[in-house]
Symmetry: C2
Subunit: 198 residues, 2 copies
């Protein structure tokens, strides 16, 4: 079972639609459960893998609040430190990545960072295949492998292992680059890593 | 004429070989001119476009020293704030990007940031085509277009306009991600931006 905390937005719904089509079971969590949305707590309790799809300012607090439900759970941190300045997308990264803050908030979770280059809008167009890779970072290789498996159900490209969780510090701001590209090209850009061989 | 400041390394030599093959004239600059290397000053004086291929700690100082020779010149900042911690590639970005520091050092230059995802080793293997894009950021659209033209002589992919120079803050650390990918896959990885249409 896959849980998605903060699952009511484009990212969560698009991810869920694509994973379900590939045969996975998904629970969409929300602070305000209604219709097909369960409580975030339930998504965590029942999820073997839990995506943390919450705004950047809320990541650590949310992880801390849910920590007792996330012991030994694989937690995927997809947030990026995006801010808008004069209407333009920018990043305001702190010393630690949001994924590291999630790990600090939920120290017994197995945190993997990823999906920062996958556009929520692109994900939500669940009938269009995503011609792109998913970039992952994390310290738990087994957790990373499971997230890689899920990622490759979602995109046509592959899951690229970018190394330890710390690498999320330099991966997360890439979302700001992509958002600026989207703005310029009126696109839902993604990223493919080339040169890795077969 | 294209000048390359700090042109004696893999990046400079690989770039020069690829540009010359495409019919461009290139001057490789060095602090210690010898053989085919001219002085950095000469590379700046004669270059219409000057690549600043110097270590990150030296970017602003070098730009300041060369500033009188770079008035109205298109300057390409390719440096990334890479450091090695415990032997592992990491980034230590400051508040401003290195490209913005170059612009501060040489305020009359037309600074474009780019090529951060192009591996120096890959560039140096001048017989192997580079199946990747070049990501650019800058405030001067005309300068950016000229650097885009050169970039598309060097790679098989395209030059992707990532927006204003400030975006270099989030683009430059991507080099640390790529270096970690290279380490993990024993590769010379590059990046392609997908979803932009034709």
């Amino acid at each position: 079972m896959i849980g998605i905390v903060g699952g009511s937005g484009d990212f969560g719904r698009g991810l869920a639609a694509r994973l379900e089509r590939a045969g996975e079971e998904v629970l969409l969590g929300s602070r305000t459960p209604r219709d097909d949305l369960v409580a975030n707590e339930e998504a965590c309790r029942r999820g073997d893998v839990v995506f943390l799809s919450v705004p950047p300012v809320g990541v650590e607090e949310m992880a801390r609040a849910l920590a007792p439900l996330l012991v030994d759970t694989i937690v995927v941190s997809v947030a990026a430190p995006i801010v808008f300045r004069d209407g333009q997308p920018a990043a305001a990264p702190g010393e630690l990545s949001l994924a590291e803050l999630a790990a600090r908030g939920a120290p017994d979770a197995r945190v993997v960072a990823g999906f920062h280059t996958v556009s929520a809008k692109g994900l939500a167009r669940a009938d269009e295949p995503l011609q792109e890779d998913v970039l992952l970072a994390g310290d738990d290789d087994e957790a990373k492998a499971e997230v890689a498996r899920l990622a490759e159900l979602v995109v046509e490209g592959r899951a690229v292992d970018c190394g330890r969780l710390e690498v999320a510090r330099w991966l997360e701001p890439l979302t700001a680059v992509i958002l600026n590209v989207n703005r310029r090209y009126r696109a839902n850009a993604g990223v493919v890593v080339t040169g890795l061989g077969e």
